[in-house]
Symmetry: C2
C-alpha cells in the first residue's frame, strides 16, 4: 500500500516548536511534507497575499534533538521542509500547485501557541490553513494549545494528537468540514470532548502605544469572555475543565433558517 | 427620535470609490462615521494586527463632486472620516473602543471592488469587517461588486443598497448573523435574490514571478469555478443571471450534524 501523504503547516512559522512536534508525531503515519510561513503570521485568519510575490524555498530540517517521541527518529530524515513568505492560506495554496505531486490524505496545522476556541477561530491563521485545505477537498485538522509560552511541554497532548489524526486518516472527514482541536495547558488531559463553538467575545482590545510623532497609536490586545460559561457542551467548557476540545467546523456559513424571512422582505 | 448611528468601513481603503458611494447613499439614513484602512487591504479576511501598533487618524472628507445621488449633499458634511493602519477587522475593533460613543445601529462594509460570493467570503476583508461587527452584536452588511474597475458605475445598485440597509435598520438582523450582498456588473439589475453560498473552488492560483536572485517566486492569481452551476438557489447563480444576491451568514461554524459521530469515535 502507498504511504499516506501528510501536509503540515502552521501560522507561527517554521521555527515554532509546535510544528516540529506535529512533524515528529505524524512522521510514523506517512510521508510528511511541511510548507510553513518563513516567519510568524499569527492572527492571519484566511488572509491571502494578492499584492506582492510569494517566495517558496526548500530548507534544511529545523528539527533539533530536544524532544523526540519514541520510535519516530527513523522517519524524521524523510520529511521535506519548505518555507513560504505568504500567509498560512498561501502555504496550502502553494503546496497544492508547486510542491505536492498528489492530493494529501491529511492536512494538519499547528500546534498553535494560543488557543483557537470560540470566536477566535475567525482570526486564526492556524484555522485559515485548515479552511483552505477543506476548500480543496482535503481532510484537515487544526491543533492549538492554550498557552503563549515559546517552548511549552507538548507531551500531555501527543496521544490525543495521534489519535485524532489517525481517525481522520482512517475514516476521512465529511466534505466541506474540518476539525478544530484545542488543548488546555495541563500536566494530564482529562480526556477528549467533542464540542460546539462557545459564544464568546473579546473586549478591552486596545492598549495605548505612545508615539513620538503625536499620532494616536494602539497595540491590539484584549480579554476573552465565554458568554455561556454554564453550558457544558462547548469548546470553552472543555478547556476550562482540562479536556481537549474537538469541534467539527463547516465552511458553508449560510444561515439557512433566515433565508425565507429575507426572501419575503427583500425579493 | 435620535439619529441612527451607521459605521462604514471597507477593505479597499479610504480612497476607494466604493466606500465613498456607500457614505453618500447612507448619509440620509443617519449619522455616518467612516473608519477605513488608510490603504488597500484586499484579501485580508478576518486578519488582525497583533505585532505592530495601529495608528488611528481623523482625516478630511475624501469626497469629490463626481457622483452625488439626489438630495444627499446636505448630509455629507456631517460624516466623520477616520483612517486606521490596521486591517478591516482592526477598523471595526478600534471604532468600537476609540471612535464611537455608542453602539452603532448598523455597520456597512464595501462596496468591494470584486465579488465575495461562494468560498471567496473566507478571504474577504470586506466580510472580515462584517464578521467582526457581528461578533460585537451589531447588525452588519457587506456589499461587493463583481468588477475590478477602479471607478465602476455604481448607479445600478443604489436602490438595492439603500433598500437592504433600510431593512436592516428597521428590522435588525438576527444575533450571530450578517448579510453578504453581491452585485453583478450590469446596466440594470434583474432584482434581488436571497441565496445560499454556492460550492466553488479556485484553481490555477500561481503565476511565475521571475526573481533576479534565483528564488522561486509566484504571484497569487486564480480562476474561480462554480461547482454547482445548475443550482438556481445560489449566490453565483444570481450573479450569473443579473441579480443581486443577498446571503445570510452565520458565525457559528459548528458542524452540528457531525457531533454525534465524532463523540462515538473520539471521546
Amino acid at each position: 500500500m502507498d504511504k499516506k501523504l501528510i501536509l503540515i503547516t502552521n501560522d507561527d512559522g517554521i521555527q515554532a516548536t509546535g510544528i516540529h512536534t506535529l512533524a515528529r508525531l505524524l512522521a510514523p503515519l506517512g510521508k510528511v511534507v511541511v510548507v510553513a510561513p518563513h516567519s510568524a503570521r499569527s492572527g492571519a485568519g484566511c488572509s491571502i497575499t494578492p499584492t506582492t510575490p510569494v517566495i517558496l524555498e526548500k530548507v534544511p530540517s529545523p528539527l533539533t534533538s530536544t524532544f523526540t517521541p519514541d520510535d519516530t527518529s527513523c522517519c524524521l530524515d524523510d520529511i521535506d521542509w519548505y518555507t513560504c513568505t505568504g500567509t498560512p492560506v498561501d502555504c496550502v495554496k502553494i503546496a497544492c500547485e508547486q510542491v505536492l505531486d498528489s492530493k494529501p490524505d491529511l492536512v494538519v496545522s499547528g500546534i498553535n501557541h494560543g488557543d483557537n476556541a470560540s470566536c477566535s477561530i475567525h482570526y486564526s491563521g492556524t484555522i485559515g490553513a485548515v479552511i483552505e485545505a477543506t476548500l480543496k477537498g482535503w481532510p484537515a485538522i487544526g491543533y492549538s494549545l492554550q498557552t503563549f509560552k515559546r517552548e511549552p511541554n507538548f507531551a500531555p497532548y501527543c496521544d490525543a494528537i495521534v489519535k485524532i489524526a489517525s481517525h481522520a486518516l482512517n475514516n476521512g472527514i465529511p466534505l466541506g468540514e474540518c476539525l478544530n482541536v484545542n488543548f488546555p495547558e495541563v500536566d494530564k488531559l482529562q480526556g477528549i470532548r467533542v464540542a460546539r463553538m462557545a459564544k464568546g467575545e473579546w473586549s478591552c482590545e486596545w492598549a495605548d502605544a505612545s508615539n513620538p510623532h503625536g499620532k494616536r497609536a494602539f497595540w491590539l490586545t484584549g480579554h476573552f469572555t465565554n458568554l455561556e460559561p454554564e453550558s457544558t457542551d462547548t469548546d470553552c467548557w472543555a478547556l476550562e475543565h482540562g479536556y481537549a476540545s474537538v469541534t467539527p467546523i463547516q465552511l458553508d456559513m449560510t444561515a439557512y433558517n433566515s433565508l425565507q424571512m429575507l426572501k419575503k422582505n427583500l425579493e
